[in-house]
């Protein structure tokens, strides 16, 4: 059962030149107790994805599709899948119909005014490709109505003293909740235009208390004019009714947990070393016993030895607390130390996902191969490392077809025209590349 599931998520930023497609159709689900690594270069959308899950996005971010389902007990998933499937079939039919209508329309002439009708159809099509909770709900209208009737009927039976009705009622209510897409955090806070409300009681109950985040650059995330201890106490008291003494005791425990001497609680951030600041940030993230912790580049600005120690610490916490973790980094090797699964992101998409071992031993995406080949190592024979030619694309006007094709040495004509589908050569391993199946059968990436 996933603890958190991201479906078809699209986060676009509105800027003068248009939309920055920071996260563009990401699917990701994380099981409880699992550690997932999110790897990619700067600007690939990994931090935006993390901020979308915690809803800490800047005000020009628009959610233009998808869901973030937060359902800690995971009871609704079997039903969810069922209703997603029903809705998806209907949506697919509508997409086909829309496409047919678009195809039937006369081609717009060069330089002519944009056709309003055509634009509206295209927009509708785009929305259907990445459905929101509202979309799903509207496509499940008959089911929802039937279930509501069933609930009412069962409730009436219960009043009359029917025995089996109670048991059945719980199940039907769960089905109804699943059909209504309950549990989608985005549905609660999303405004009509796709921007998110800053405050909602349902979100506040989840944010930090259940999903917390260790921000990138601990040195800048702590307030320099308050003691570190006070900042953690504040985080605790914002979410829990607790006396100052109790909260302070909690901070002491947290300090012992992450390995900072407890006599440093009343120090200011500038009195801490870089490693200690990072540990304090981790302590703050753990302060409310969250179920999911997102760590955004937890070791990037740290020295090598300190970084290794922090990673050891994270591994130890993971073992003792059985935490569910998302670790974001640009360095595959760092993430592979702790993660069970690794997702590689490029230009707003997850281009490859597999177990931490397979990502090295059975790479299926050319970008992942390039990323792995770009790091020098201290072990083994010294070999020439290769860079990936070019640079990451603009997310305002991403390349047509496969977004990696301008930099890919295996690219063929199809890559420039057709966006690749996910290839799943074995369970748990997917790759967004036209030729991944070939790479899989050949056992290596080669040009055919």
């Amino acid at each position: 059962m996933p603890l958190v599931a991201v479906r078809d998520l699209r986060v676009y930023f509105r800027i003068r030149q248009g939309w920055v497609r920071a996260v563009d159709g990401v699917n990701l689900s994380i099981d409880r107790g699992e550690t997932v690594g999110l790897v990619g270069e700067s600007g690939c959308g990994k931090t935006t994805l993390a901020y979308a899950i915690t809803q800490l996005l800047p005000s020009n971010a628009h959610i233009l599709g998808g869901q973030v389902i937060w359902e800690p007990d995971g009871k609704l998933y079997p039903y969810r899948e069922e209703y997603w499937k029903i809705a998806a079939e209907r949506i697919a039919k509508d997409i086909e119909a829309l496409k047919a209508r678009l195809a039937a329309m006369p081609k717009p002439e060069e330089g002519s005014k944009p056709d309003a009708e055509r634009a509206a159809l295209e927009e509708e099509l785009e929305l259907l490709r990445h459905p929101l909770s509202v979309t799903y709900r509207s496509y499940l209208e008959p089911e929802i109505r039937a279930l509501e009737a069933k609930v009412a009927e069962l409730e009436a039976q219960m009043e009359q003293g029917s025995r089996g009705a109670g048991r059945q009622l719980a199940q039907v209510q769960a089905r109804l909740a699943a059909a209504r897409q309950e549990g989608d955090l985005m549905a609660v806070t999303r405004r009509k235009d796709g921007r998110l409300r800053e405050y909602h009681p349902k979100l506040s109950a989840v944010r930090w208390a259940q999903i917390s985040i260790v921000f990138q650059g601990a040195m800048n995330a702590l307030n320099p004019v308050y003691t570190v201890g006070d900042q953690i106490v504040e985080a605790i008291q914002t979410h829990e009714q607790m006396s100052d003494d109790e909260a302070r005791k909690r901070v002491e425990e947290l300090y012992r947990l992450v390995g900072i001497p407890t006599d440093r609680i009343d120090n200011y951030p500038h009195e801490y070393s870089g490693g200690m600041k990072q540990r304090a940030m981790i302590a703050m993230a753990l302060a409310l016993g969250p179920r999911l912790v997102i760590m955004d580049e937890p070791t990037t600005a740290l020295d090598v030895i300190t970084a290794a120690k922090i990673m050891d610490e994270i591994r130890r916490l993971q073992e003792t607390l059985k935490m569910t973790l998302i670790i974001i980094s640009h360095d595959v090797s760092t993430v592979a130390k702790v993660a069970d699964r690794i997702c590689v992101m490029y230009a707003g998409e997850i281009i490859e996902e597999s177990s931490s071992k397979k990502i090295f031993s059975q790479t299926l995406h050319p970008y992942t191969e390039g990323l792995l080949g770009a790091f020098p190592s201290v072990k083994g024979e010294k070999k020439r490392i290769e860079s990936i030619p070019g640079s990451p694309p603009s997310l305002v006007t991403p390349p047509s077809g496969c977004r990696f094709h301008p930099r890919c040495k295996y690219a063929k004509d199809i890559c420039t025209t057709t966006p690749p589908p996910y290839v799943v050569p074995e369970p748990g391993h997917r790759s967004l590349c036209h030729f991944s199946q070939d790479f899989y059968t050949q056992g290596a990436l080669t040009r055919t």
Partner: protein
């Protein structure tokens, strides 16, 4: 009070050689680089460039010396003036040193340098501004600016650490190719020993202002002798899923460079420290030709007679964890 940023450092740089200066932040590697280029004045000691001490150069000689020594800085966003076009940024050194007559000749030299730095065709880049280029391209402009004067030495201070992974390799390969082409020696300053291994012929590891170990790169990486180098090498993540990590054999945190430990500077963090380390500064032991380490036990470590004891087990925190997480329901899973 004095900060002993660089304290008794000696090394040579040969023609066509790349020396990797490795260490954590605050170890004095950047200060060393700045001393060589006389951006900092040494309190004591010599820096000999082609036999002349650069500390005693007259203003005129200094000016000429700076032409022979160029620097590449860490962050191309900051080291390039945002209001200068590439042409202006790269021709600035030519103007200062009065090389090349007239606009056309300067542009020619600039294009040549840009193309050497991998920006081809150079013509296309002349009118661009820093914000119109990617990080890798910007760093290549910084490299071109260093190259345009045909320097005799280049000091590169963390030239790739701000660059994205996929671009980093290209800049490193470019620097290696340029060395092969022009035989320019580099002092390559980096915190990443894996990068240093890739780039340099010799490595010098710095800790608290001293070079604690130096030697031919492969020798140092395969047979690290100073306990600090050994810790540094074990801390580097390895791109191999089968690799088993051990606890990094180092304790505590970096001491203040104002109040240095007596005897050996590393003793407060060393797992092999003995009484002698507290009282006597270690000698610089040559364990094999050209490979030296500043440690009382260097020979024993080098020959494998002495290894670090395992790190003490971390204290158990399970009960604290359970208590903390019990108030919010059981931990997941």
């Amino acid at each position: 009070m004095y900060v002993h940023a660089v304290d008794g450092v000696s090394f040579n740089l040969m023609q066509g050689e790349i020396l990797g200066l490795v260490g954590e932040s605050g170890c004095g590697k950047t200060t060393t680089g700045r001393l060589i280029s006389r951006l900092e004045t040494p309190t004591e000691g010599f820096i000999l460039f082609e036999g002349a001490d650069i500390a005693s150069l007259t203003a005129r000689e200094m000016f000429d010396f700076r032409r022979d020594l160029q620097m590449i800085f860490q962050d191309p966003y900051e080291s390039l003036n945002p209001r200068f076009s590439v042409l202006r940024a790269v021709s600035e050194p030519l103007l200062i040193h009065g090389i090349a007559n007239g606009r056309e000749q300067r542009a020619e030299l600039v294009i040549h340098a840009l193309e050497d730095a991998g920006l081809r065709p150079g013509q296309d880049f002349l009118d661009r501004f820093p914000h119109e280029m990617s990080g890798g391209q910007r760093q290549r402009v910084a490299i071109a600016r260093a190259l345009v004067l045909n320097p005799k030495v280049i000091i590169a201070d963390e030239p790739v650490s701000m660059l994205d992974v996929s671009i980093r390799a290209g800049v490193m390969n470019l620097m290696l190719d340029l060395r092969d082409k022009y035989r320019i020696p580099y002092v390559f300053i980096t915190h990443d020993i894996a990068v240093a291994r890739y780039m340099s012929d010799r490595i010098a590891v710095m800790y608290l202002g001293r070079i604690v170990e130096s030697g031919p790169t492969e020798e140092v990486v395969s047979r690290p002798t100073h306990p600090y180098t050994r810790a540094l090498l074990l801390a580097v993540p390895v791109p191999d899923p089968e690799h088993t990590y051990t606890q990094v054999p180092i304790k505590g945190e970096l001491p203040s460079p104002i109040d240095l430990p007596s005897g050996c500077r590393f003793r407060t963090r060393c797992l092999l420290a003995q009484d002698i380390c507290k009282t006597t500064a270690p000698p610089n032991v040559e364990v094999s030709p050209g490979h030296t380490a500043e440690c009382h036990f260097a020979q024993d470590i080098y020959e494998g007679r002495l290894v670090e004891p395992p790190m003490p087990e971390q204290s158990v925190v399970e009960d604290i964890a359970q208590k903390l997480f019990a108030s919010h329901g059981p931990p997941a899973k």
